[in-house]
Symmetry: C2
Subunit: 587 residues, 2 copies
């Protein structure tokens, strides 16, 4: 089985030392979220994740969730753990105190998301979608609905889902067929089939609140005729207690490569009672409030799984002895494999990506809070644009890197990585869903280039690149090497961006066939930028914690020497265009 | 379930049109292997692989091999299929007619290896190791042993294994502990434990012939005290019939991420009778005869799995409709996803890598035959050096590309790629062993840079690069674009090679930390070279089969535009050296 020790030191470094963000610091309600309070929360979070949630990973993989006589049963230990989880208030961490939440900012809850992703992704998904549904209801539903449903969801006694996909529509939701027929009392009856519904049914909570997109009987075809509905598994009575079962049944649960503890359901809606949330025919917009936050969390899943894969690889590399290293001083027997340059390189590759991503994610959490809570509309909008821009990047890059890192972890473990005992192959399988769900990484890349670079508020990508450039005008001579490297990379990003903008005018296929590469370049540059900000602090605050900062500087050094140069090939291959691709005739 | 149609057309193109290899054509015994004969063989091979072996993939994944009361039982259908398999003579394809084999060259048997890897890797492994053991016995054993064991192995009634790994030694075989004690009759008694033994025990054959490395009681420590022994599961009597059970028991079989139909065994040797094969204390050399050929076959496994992943992705992309493409003419509904530029790009990426690899592999098969059978020792040695050079490259590159291609196949299938029904996720899991076994890909890269670039016969890599350069002096103006691209890549390879040679003198860690990148660069260039030779034929023979050659040219075009540029980043990141890596202190 894997071991896990929550990286509290790095998280607290970010929370304590990387707070130099004027806009974020102006948010009134977070001023009382002190360093001590956060440290306390993370230490408690580490305990439940390390001791109670981590063992659920193996349990769920060996005893997947099953559907028995119409009841979905979660793996052994899930129920007991979930009870403790909600008793300790972890579902409510980032929710509004108005509904019983603890009102913590995403700068804190993202750390919790990372830890629980490391410990057991399958278990995490049962509460993750609840928070997604909570956010959506909180944004779009009328007060009456909010008061009726949110407190129980915040408490974790009821959970939530997002019901989008149908057999013929995944990426393309305009094709959906689920019908909603309005009743005389203003409610709707929903009929249709939804598939791939994460936590669609299970035995952990008293009720499940489904957010379902469907087409009202008088709505137009395509994406412009989609509305959003709240459809509970059990009808909730006026007094808030649970009433009769609604017309939803679980057709089957999917047999999957990984996350076997998570119930991925086929749900059949048969005249199920639902309540419209948000304006009619604007259901996709409402759902996307939830989807965008959710996509960042999927990125964090990739980060969390990367972290535990790295920790286990490091431990194994220190213990496993094979062969003599180039500088071996062993006269008898072999050296620990960490002394071999190729293994050490692989470990540093993981570490430099993980810590860079965590810093980038922290900045993104700050931006998200500014976009939701700042009082100045202009500041709010700019933060919102940056969050939009970076959402597909973080979702895709962190999950792709999660595959690279879990794969490298398997290589370091050799045959022991491929067999079940060590738990490494499970991390690889579990993480493999993250580049797929919430929109495949290719869909993210399309979203990035066609909708996020330039939007109705203008040239977002240029503003973002300018922000980075401003940070590079720093005169700290310690940063010179790093700034020069990043400067060159920004030249590539600039050229690539201009090429994309130019091709957008009359050669969209060039853009489509370059979008995955472009996303990777932007992600690598954004991570380098996050590293620059970490380096600033590391040099300025060096004497207060020499050992810690020296490690940061050397880790960054690896990133700039070995990871950042990947952008060159992405750029070079992309600008060859797409004519020869689109002209190709497959037999 | 996946579908599969053997790519006979491409294979026959290589066999028929790419035979312009003087040294290979001088091998007397293959002159009668006509195009018609090979076509016939491939058509029969396609039938058994498509109809009988392909369904075993799902069967074995759902009902893995089990150990019950000391007996290893293969999945449902394996026994019946194996019976047909050996009746039709497929185990004997490349074996010596002297022992009942069909004497086909590797230029033919490699195609069969590819097909059966596509159809079901787990099933393949039962006969693959037999052929490995056959080769090793045929090279190193005395006539008496050969006559006693080989005919039954060629017939497929007995199978073979390679027993190397032990709990504390995988890569580093010098650490092995299995002991062999010589008896008065010249036989040995072996005691010890071997792990990760592929096909170590099963119910498909009457006997299993283990090739075991062990240390004779009076041999020195380390790799210089290792000898090779033939240890049968059942003692074979003087008359060739099967006698009593030898002292070998199966401790357990591994539970693995994939290839679940393959029995990966822990074997306990307890005073088991064995016969020394080859000279004492030179066991590793003898074993490596087998290992090197085996490593190429592992590369072919990656190629085979890539091919079936590609075929299923192509079919799915033509059928699945989602979203409008940039040039959509659909007025109602969605386009097939193959019309989307990013998906089409992904399919062409697969195709251009697969066909390039197949051409490279065909050239390598020719070289292998020259290295084994040419009458001129000098020609033989040069071929042998090239085979040595390319063995780690083909093993690593084809298996890594297999991961890229099966992963991209999963992305194309979206959620349906992650669930079990379509069989895509199984290809991904099955292929994941290939970068690990027969020496991890990192071990291959170390082998390449430290042992293969320059060996006792001189500067092999320079001779290889010169060979490519000579082919680029072709004046065919159609090739100009391709030759210019490859020329630039060879500059990078040249610079990288010189850097490696320089660092080899006094900075071996620089070499170790660059070796994986160097292997990738060499592999990408070698594949481009294989494409150049395909292009030559395509232009020269264009009019005879316009449609086929046009497809080849366009596929090559993709490779040169989009795949080959990957070398840039590998080179750039590598030359940053290793000091900052080796100086890093992990806590």
């Amino acid at each position: 089985m894997t071991t896990y020790s929550a990286p509290i030191k790095d998280m607290m470094f970010l929370y304590e030392k990387m707070r130099n963000n004027k806009n974020y610091n102006e948010i009134e309600k977070y001023k009382e979220v002190t360093v001590d309070l956060v440290k306390n929360i993370l230490e408690e979070a580490a305990k439940i994740n390390q001791n109670i949630i981590l063992p659920l990973a193996k349990s769920g993989d060996e005893n997947p969730t099953v559907l028995e006589n119409g009841i979905v049963r979660t793996p052994p230990g899930y129920k007991e753990a979930y009870k403790k989880f909600i008793e300790d208030g972890w579902t409510s961490l980032s929710c509004d105190p108005k509904y019983g939440g603890q009102g913590m900012p995403k700068t804190v809850s993202a750390f919790f998301d990372e830890m629980i992703s490391s410990a057991c992704l399958s278990f995490k998904l049962y509460s993750e979608l609840s928070i997604g549904a909570y956010n959506c209801i909180n944004h779009h539903a009328p007060e009456e609905i909010k008061n009726k449903f949110l407190p129980k969801m915040v408490e974790g006694k009821w959970s939530g889902t997002m019901c989008l996909t149908e057999p013929v529509c995944g990426t393309d939701l305009g094709l959906l067929k689920t019908k909603a027929t309005e009743q005389s009392d203003g409610t709707f009856k929903l009929s249709g089939q939804k598939i791939f519904i994460t936590s669609g049914d299970h035995d952990l909570t008293e009720n499940i609140i489904h957010l379902v997109i469907a087409r009202a009987s008088d709505s137009p075809k395509g994406t412009k005729g989609i509305s959003l509905f709240l459809v509970p598994k059990f009808i909730v009575k006026e007094d808030g207690t649970i009433g009769s079962r609604n017309g939803i049944s679980t057709g089957s649960i999917e047999s999957k490569m990984g996350i076997k503890g998570s119930a991925t359901c086929v749900l059949n809606f048969d005249e199920a009672t639902g309540y419209m949330i948000g304006p009619k025919n604007k259901g996709l917009n409402s759902m996307f409030t939830m989807m965008n936050l959710e996509r960042i969390v999927v990125g964090i899943q990739g980060l969390g799984i990367s972290e535990i894969a790295y920790q286990n690889s490091l431990n194994y590399a220190k213990e496993r002895k094979q062969g003599k290293s180039n500088n071996s001083k062993e006269t008898n027997g072999a050296d620990p494999i960490i002394d071999h340059a190729d293994i050490k390189k692989s470990l540093l590759n993981m570490k430099s990506i993980i810590e860079g991503e965590r810093a980038l994610c922290f900045w993104l959490s700050q931006q998200t809070e500014v976009s939701l809570n700042h009082t100045d509309e202009k500041v709010k909008q700019e933060a919102s644009d940056f969050v939009s821009l970076m959402t597909p990047v973080v979702k895709s890059m962190f999950t792709d890197m999660g595959m690279e890192i879990t794969s490298d972890a398997m290589q370091i473990h050799g045959g022991y990585g491929y067999t079940k005992d060590q738990g490494i192959e499970q991390l690889y399988r579990d993480n493999r869903i993250t580049p797929i769900y919430e929109g495949t990484n290719s869909v993210q890349a399309i979203d990035l280039v066609f909708r996020k670079l330039v939007n109705k508020n203008g040239d977002v990508i240029s503003r973002y690149i300018d922000t980075i450039k401003k940070d590079l005008s720093n005169n700290n001579k310690n940063l010179k090497f790093f700034i020069e490297k990043l400067d060159k990379s920004i030249d590539v990003l600039d050229k690539f961006t201009n090429w994309i903008k130019e091709k957008m005018k009359n050669s969209k296929d060039d853009v489509s066939s370059a979008c995955n590469d472009y996303l990777k370049v932007l992600g690598l540059v954004a991570t380098a930028h996050a590293w620059i900000k970490v380096l600033e602090v590391s040099y300025n605050d060096y004497d207060s914690n020499k050992e810690f900062y020296e490690e940061k500087i050397q880790t960054a050094n690896f990133y700039f020497n070995r990871v950042l140069p990947r952008i060159e090939s992405h750029y070079l291959s992309s600008i060859s265009g797409s004519k020869y691709i689109m002209d190709f005739k497959f037999n």
